[in-house]
């Protein structure tokens, strides 16, 4: 099992989510997050240029069985990228997932995902 964490631009959330649903990845968790990478966004406030050090992004967390890893990652890359790719398009982290438990039934492992 894998735990896939993707940090994507806010405006891409709908597109990514719709594409994931089309690819039958329907169990996801979404959070608003702030952070910084290489992207710089200049904001003008009362005529003064300000560079916020934290930029809002959306984080998607998906737990899946091994065979779904590729399609999930590919779908996110395809839909979250701006055109040919821009700084700020985000990152995807894939980790091995030790255990998954469905609280309602107590099932464990791949079938609980």
């Amino acid at each position: 099992m894998k735990l896939i964490t993707a940090i994507i631009p806010e405006e891409k959330l709908d597109e990514v989510r719709e594409a994931l649903i089309d690819a039958e990845i329907e169990r996801i968790t979404v959070t608003r997050v702030s952070g910084h990478g290489r992207q710089q966004e200049i904001v003008v406030q009362r005529g003064k240029k300000v560079v916020p050090n934290l930029i809002p992004k959306v984080q998607i967390t998906i737990a899946c069985n091994d065979e779904f890893e590729d399609i999930t990652v590919d779908t996110i890359i395809r839909t979250a990228r701006h055109g040919g790719g821009e700084v700020g398009d985000g990152k995807i982290f894939v980790q091995d997932l030790k255990e998954c438990i469905r609280i309602r039934t107590g099932e464990r492992g791949g079938q609980a995902i």
Binding site: E10, E11, E15, S34, N53, L54
Partner: protein
């Protein structure tokens, strides 16, 4: 000047007896003036109220963009009205009565010393009317929320006020206006059922159809981001509406109190009815339903506040809530995107009020009408009302479409899909409504 003499008629709908001091012209009535200045302030308070009402209903990414639509109306029309708007609306008939015009009224120069026969400085009347001109285009924003550009909106409301609001205002409220002189005692529009609500509602519907639906509508859920705002906005609108309706008597007297009373009753009845419908139908009274019902009640009583009594106000409140609720269900079935129900509530409520008031007019009004035009009855007045409503809808829809077409071609009205997805706040204004989720 004839228009000033005739303003008496408009001003003294409620007839605070004009106070003359030995032929030196009207004397200032401090009571009436104080109330008119208060009313003017109250009506302006409705605009930020509307901004909050609409701002709470859109998605998180469009809050500031949506609130800016209302504030843009305050800024744009706030200037436009004093420069030419008042001259176009309350000048004497020009172009065969299509509009008013008086050069002296440009920049309000000629009213610098004028006290109206109602005992109110004309500045107070002009500013009071100016607030109506501000809120009317602001109402339209609800129909096209979340998908229009700021500059397109500014261009649109500028043209719309000049070519739709001012002519309509002239027809209905200028003493030599066409609707003002229909039938026995004119088409009844106490505080703007046709001029404000039907015209903006119909324009909103036309604009929503012209611009098309938001990306993803109706498949994607577009839930309100903050109904707390919406409730506060509805509250501000309710309070401000006392100025809107009771101020429209241009006096501080019996008629003012009558208008205030029925306004309160209709708003409360509308809210109760809407929440009751929801409870029966879906088992849950919602805060959005409460806010919508308040608005439906306030809109329906707007044209009627001068002629109906408490019983009629309750009846109209109930009918309006049912009609507006039904119109929103119908919208969902038809699939057009009147995003925040500007037509659903203002258009529908305005039409119901302008027509429905005929059945609840107080007896003394009928007596006066019959004295002027023997045999004047419900049916004859209903015809006058229907004519005013129909003409308003037709005029507003046609002119709105022409203006929208021009704006789309010249400055661009609808934003690109990319801007729509990211949200107006960030893309157009470079800001975000809420810092809460951003740790900066």
């Amino acid at each position: 000047m004839t228009w000033k003499r005739s303003l008496l008629a408009a001003a003294a709908l409620g007839a605070a007896c004009p106070l003359f001091a030995d032929g030196n012209g009207p004397v200032n009535d401090s009571g009436a003036t104080a109330w008119m200045l208060t009313s003017t302030t109250l009506v302006l308070l409705m605009v930020p109220g509307l901004a909050m009402f609409y701002g709470g209903l859109v998605r998180t990414k469009n809050v500031l963009g949506t609130m800016m639509h209302s504030f843009a109306a305050m800024a744009v029309v706030g200037v436009l009205w004093t420069v030419v708007g008042y001259a176009l609306s309350f000048g004497p008939n020009a172009l065969g009565g299509l509009i008013g015009w008086s050069r002296g009224l440009v920049l309000l120069r000629s009213i610098d010393h004028t006290i109206l026969p109602a005992g109110v400085p004309e500045y107070a009347f002009a500013m009071f009317q100016g607030k109506f001109a501000i809120i009317t285009p602001a109402l339209i924003a609800g129909a096209v929320a979340e998908r229009i550009s700021f500059r397109g909106w500014v261009a649109f409301i500028t043209l719309w006020v000049l070519f739709v609001y001012c002519p309509l205002c002239h027809w209905v409220w200028a003493p030599d206006g066409y609707f003002f002189n229909l039938g026995a005692k004119g088409a009844i529009d106490f505080a703007g059922g046709t001029v404000v609500h039907i015209s903006s509602g119909a324009a909103g519907l036309a604009l929503a159809l012209f611009l098309g639906v938001r990306h993803g509508y109706p498949k994607t859920a577009m839930a309100p981001n903050n109904l707390t705002f919406t409730l506060i906005g509805a509250g501000l609108l309710w309070v401000g509406w006392f100025g809107f309706n009771a101020g429209s008597s241009i006096a501080s007297n019996l008629e003012t109190a009558r208008a205030l009373t029925v306004t309160q009753v209709a708003a409360a009845t509308g809210a109760l009815t809407w929440v009751l419908i929801e409870t029966i139908r879906d088992d849950k009274p919602t805060s959005l339903g409460m806010a919508s019902g308040i608005l439906a009640g306030l809109v329906v009583i707007t044209p009627a506040a001068g002629v109906v009594q408490v019983g009629g106000a309750i009846a109209l409140g109930v009918i309006a809530a049912c009609a507006c609720f039904g119109m929103i269900l119908l919208k969902n079935r038809l699939g057009y995107d009147d995003s925040l129900d500007a037509f659903g509530i203002h258009g529908t409520g305005g039409i119901v009020g302008a027509l429905g008031l005929t059945f609840f007019i107080r007896d003394s009004w009928w007596a006066e009408a019959a004295a002027k035009s023997p045999g004047w009855g419900i049916l004859s007045q209903l015809k006058v009302q229907a004519f005013a409503v129909g003409t308003t809808i037709l005029f507003s829809v046609v002119m709105t479409l022409i203006i929208a077409f021009l704006v789309e071609k010249v400055v661009g009205f609808r934003v690109t899909e990319a801007v729509e997805k990211t949200g107006l706040d960030h893309e157009i204004h470079g800001e975000r409504a809420y810092g809460l989720n951003n740790l900066n």
